[in-house]
């Protein structure tokens, strides 16, 4: 696939369709991939890479890139295309300045995931059939590809692109049986005390590095309310447990109905806080209360929070255990 993408990128650069390419750049190790803009064929040859470690969602970069001179080629994975559409809907990306090539995704892994499976001192990795063979300082280790998948990829909602100008490889399928709300349901089944204890345990680890916010394609505000002293709620660090809750509630609320569930927030959290469980709660509630809605599926529909029906459920539904 990487070769196919390289060839396509070069072709489009050559024929002038685009003047640069947004993709992934190889790093020092096998896993430390960095999003990058490539301006020439030499650049591409020097570092362009596409493999199971290329997890970064590139859509958000297009806010900036689509405002630059000339058209940019963007390689988007299926889940990235949802974010892309959502940003189009919110007028954040100038569509005509982007040439989108959909690239297939079989699920991604990353260094952190491998390490969480007990792999130490990763020097390299190659895929062989269903296995990933990892070369380490302390010898070779093998992991099944499924075991190596990042948590978000285990509950992938769709391997199908919702938008592209051109598609490379074979189009994937939606994954209706994705079980992505199972963790949310597990929490819902707990007592409020247990839930409170769970979330305190998680959110108290937050160091307010803002990685979740800054990586999030939905968090694309010119100036975040938490950075704006005039908002009255700006915080640089959570000086009290309240502020930890506040930040994450408001952040999740601001992206409610706009979050495409790309999972970047949980991926980047240095403290491994399962932030996607907040967003997914909103997605689940929206689905249950107002009908199935997938942000980023299209560029036209009204977002659930800027919409209503006359017979929407009353807030008291919460006291009735969320049952309609």
């Amino acid at each position: 696939m990487q070769e196919l993408m390289l060839a396509k990128a070069k072709e489009l650069l050559q024929n002038g369709t685009v003047n640069r390419v947004l993709g992934w750049q190889a790093g020092e190790f096998v896993y430390d991939i960095t999003p990058a803009v490539f301006e020439s064929e030499q650049d591409l040859d020097a570092g362009f890479v596409y493999n199971e470690f290329c997890g970064n969602n590139l859509s958000k970069y297009l806010i900036k890139e689509s405002r630059k001179e000339g058209k940019v080629l963007a390689f988007l994975k299926p889940c990235d295309t949802y974010s892309f559409n959502q940003l189009i809907k919110e007028h954040r990306i100038i569509r005509e300045n982007v040439y989108v090539i959909g690239v297939p995704c079989e699920g991604k892994t990353d260094g952190e995931t491998l390490k969480s499976k007990g792999v130490k001192g990763i020097l390299g990795a190659k895929s062989e059939g269903d296995e990933l063979i990892i070369d380490t300082l302390y010898g070779e280790q093998r992991l099944s590809k499924r075991d190596a998948l990042t948590a978000r990829c285990l509950t992938c909602k769709s391997k199908k692109h919702v938008v592209y100008d051109e598609l490379l490889g074979e189009e994937g399928e939606e994954v209706p049986e994705n079980h992505r709300f199972e963790e949310v349901e597990k929490l819902e089944a707990m007592t409020p005390d247990e839930r409170f204890a769970f979330w305190r345990g998680e959110l108290s680890r937050c160091i307010r590095c803002n990685a979740c916010r800054n990586v999030c394609p939905a968090c694309s505000c010119e100036k975040c309310v938490f950075d704006n002293p005039a908002s009255g709620i700006s915080q640089k660090a959570a000086a009290d447990s309240f502020e930890e809750n506040m930040f994450h509630i408001i952040r999740a609320f601001h992206v409610a109905g706009r979050c495409t569930d790309c999972g970047e927030c949980s991926r980047v959290c240095p403290q491994n806080i399962p932030l996607h469980l907040l967003n997914r709660k909103f997605i689940k509630d929206i689905d249950a209360f107002y009908g199935e809605y997938q942000a980023g599926e299209d560029t036209e529909s009204r977002a659930p929070l800027t919409n209503f029906t006359y017979d929407d459920v009353e807030p008291s539904i919460v006291y009735k255990g969320g049952k309609k």
Partner: protein
């Protein structure tokens, strides 16, 4: 830092009896920023207002807090006071320590503590207030009256009389409303038609009045002074400009078994019809559900006989768009449906009728030509029983109305009296809960019915009406005064049905964003002081849409509504609400969330060039609020994820300051 003055009102003893006003003004005097604090017996009085004005001048106040009654009562008063002393009106905040404090608490210590906290919240808010200047918007010098009954007619005539254009929208083919169906009016017993029809004609002939009969309001947009209304002129299938109202067509129409609405189905009309002889406009209308030509394409007789060539089977509904400065709601009332009242045998016997049906039966223009005949066999009835409060003052859930329908006592007295006068051989009984006859000459009228005309008034309720096979109606009731059961063999029973707002009122209220009470009566802006205005600016109330009313009350209110409309239309410009949304373009993402939730379409977007760091520029899409259109609801402020959108007068920081002051531990 503001220099704030605090003025605590005693409201006589209304506040002072429960709140230690001196303690409140003392405590608030120690709040940061407060440079003057006092209390006075009646802050809204001239002397009280002078205290405020003098303090503004003497202490160079930049903001004031009045702890008094609800801002809904006197906010406007104190804003004017401030303005007259040179302080911007929007530098005034009210702490509601009467309705929301002294009146609801008994413990003086608690009420005083709460009053101080409410005062602190208002001080916290005023610290963040900024002077606001109201913009202006032009006024369209035309009024819309919705409903062409006596209320609408009177309002329209009065407005037109002042020289302003008025449109009447009436959903029936003719204006006139309920009053056209009434025979005589209490307490003078003059003929309804005689006093109403001249007014109808006046409307038709007044060149300032434009009648949209057989029409309905479809959409209302805009705001006070600038309403945009879509009116649906339903197809009559008759060209109103050609029809002379000669009636030739109605006579020839073969479809003649259509229940006549005007006579409440007591007789029939044709498929093409004019509701009654004095209809305005006097134009025929084809009932599309009854006309054979429209249903099956067969017939066409009316077109053949119409010498004016007015019949147009191809006519379509037509949407007319008009601009108005003010809208008067005069949608009136209807008697409730009595189908649920089987205890009175309403649906079992033709001889159990509603009062309005009785009205038609005794009307000279009615189905019987004014002769009192039983509907079942056309015989003259000898014993009549009138039942009061059918569905009124009813506490039962789901059936009837909790309120008094107000008009029934009087018209029943009228009916009873007229019966006895015209047919001395009849016995007339009236079952009542209470007889309510306040009003000029009303009680005298009722007493005449009892004393001069020998109507039998029985205090008590009817339990059951049983139709017997011999045609008699056995009325079983109780006489509370005699404490005994009463059985009357009646020939006719007349039910005084409760009245309720017209069904079209609720969807109309939604279109107008005017509020309603739980009974679907329109709510007035203030029960006592603003009885003919809706809380929604530019919407006025006339007649029974606001609550049950008889004709004199309706006409009085209609005139009052008209005078309010005239007052509005007489202005060339209106001051806009300055508490509008505004977007900080430096923070706006241009995401369109705000635009989606704005009910007024007040938000648009522009691409704007911004200076960026390091001498670069960038073009961004940003929201712009049209302040003349924005009504200040604030929906956009919450939809905005970046907090770029805020509301003047109710800003995020102001509301949070209030929250902080209230919650302070």
């Amino acid at each position: 830092m503001q220099r704030i003055g605090v003025f605590v009102c005693w409201c006589g003893s209304n506040i002072a009896a429960t709140v230690d006003v001196a303690a409140v003004s003392e405590a608030l005097g120690h709040e940061p920023g407060v440079v003057f604090s006092t209390n006075y017996q009646y802050m809204c009085s001239e002397a009280g207002q002078n205290i405020i004005k003098n303090a503004i001048r003497d202490y160079q106040l930049t903001g004031i807090v009045v702890c008094s009654c609800s801002p809904r009562m006197h906010e406007a008063t104190f804003r004017k006071t401030a303005a007259s002393a040179g302080l911007n009106s929007y530098m005034v905040e009210i702490a509601n320590i009467r309705e929301q404090c002294s009146w609801i608490h008994k413990d003086k210590a608690q009420a005083t503590e709460k009053a101080i906290i409410l005062g602190r919240a208002a001080i916290a808010k005023v610290h963040l207030n900024a002077p606001l200047t109201a913009g202006e918007s032009p006024v369209t010098k035309r009024a819309l009256v919705i409903g062409g009954g006596i209320a609408g007619i009177q309002t329209a005539l009065d407005i037109a009389d002042a020289g302003f254009e008025v449109d009447i929208v009436e959903k029936q083919p003719t204006i006139g409303g309920k009053m056209t169906q009434i025979d005589k009016t209490f307490p003078t017993l003059d003929c309804a038609a005689c006093i109403l029809t001249p007014k109808m004609v006046d409307c038709a002939q007044n060149d300032k009045i434009n009648i949209f009969a057989y029409s309905e309001v479809k959409e209302v947009k805009g705001f006070v002074g600038n309403f945009h209304v879509k009116i649906n002129k339903k197809a009559r299938y008759v060209d109103a400009t050609k029809c002379t109202g000669c009636g030739e067509c109605t006579e020839k129409c073969p479809m003649k078994k259509i229940p006549n609405e005007f006579n409440l189905g007591l007789d029939n009309r044709h498929a093409i019809y004019i509701p009654f002889a004095q209809a305005v406009p006097k134009v025929a209308t084809i009932d599309p559900n009854a006309c054979n030509m429209l249903k099956n394409g067969k017939c066409g007789l009316c077109a053949k006989v119409c010498s004016a060539g007015a019949i147009d089977y191809k006519q379509k509904d037509e949407i007319v768009e008009r601009e108005y400065g003010a809208i008067v709601v005069a949608t009136g009332y209807n008697p409730i449906k009595l189908d649920d009242y089987d205890e009175y045998a309403y649906s079992l016997s033709k001889d159990v009728v509603s009062s309005l049906e009785f009205e038609r039966i005794t009307n000279a223009a009615g189905p019987t030509g004014g002769t009192l005949l039983r509907p079942s066999d056309g015989k003259h009835p000898h014993t009549l029983v009138f039942v009061q409060c059918v569905g009124s003052r009813c506490s039962a859930e789901g059936k009837g109305k909790s309120y008094c329908s107000k008009i029934c006592c009087m018209y029943t007295a009228k009916h009873a009296m007229l019966c006895r006068e015209k047919y001395p051989d009849t016995e007339v009984y009236v079952f009542y809960i209470d007889v309510r006859s306040p009003g000029k000459n009303y009680d005298e009228f009722y007493r005449r019915a009892v004393e001069e005309y020998g109507v039998h008034y029985i205090k008590g309720q009817v339990g059951k009406v049983v139709p017997r096979s011999d045609g008699k109606l056995l009325v079983q009731g109780s006489d509370l005064l005699a404490n005994e059961q009463v059985h009357i063999e009646a020939d006719m029973v007349v039910l005084a049905a409760a009245i309720e707002p017209d069904k079209s009122a609720r969807p109309l209220a939604t279109m107008l964003t005017a509020s309603m009470d739980t009974n679907d009566f329109f709510t007035e802006a203030h029960a006592k002081l603003r009885p003919v205005e809706s809380p929604t600016a530019g919407i006025f109330l006339s007649g029974a849409c606001q609550g049950p009313k008889d004709i004199p009350d309706t006409v009085a209110q209609a005139g009052a509504a008209a005078s309010k409309v005239i007052g509005l239309l007489a202005k060339d410009k209106l001051t806009c609400n300055p508490c509008t949304a505004h977007s900080d373009e430096m923070m706006c993402n241009g995401c369109s969330s705000c635009e989606k939730v704005c009910p007024y379409g007040a938000i648009s977007y522009v691409d704007k060039e911004f200076r960026m760091p390091n001498r670069t520029t960038a073009i961004r899409r940003v929201a712009v609020v049209n302040e003349a259109v924005c009504q200040g609801c604030g929906a956009c402020t919450v939809a905005c994820p970046s907090g770029a959108m805020d509301l003047k007068g109710f800003s995020n920081s102001q509301i949070m300051a209030e929250v902080d002051a209230i919650c302070k531990m």
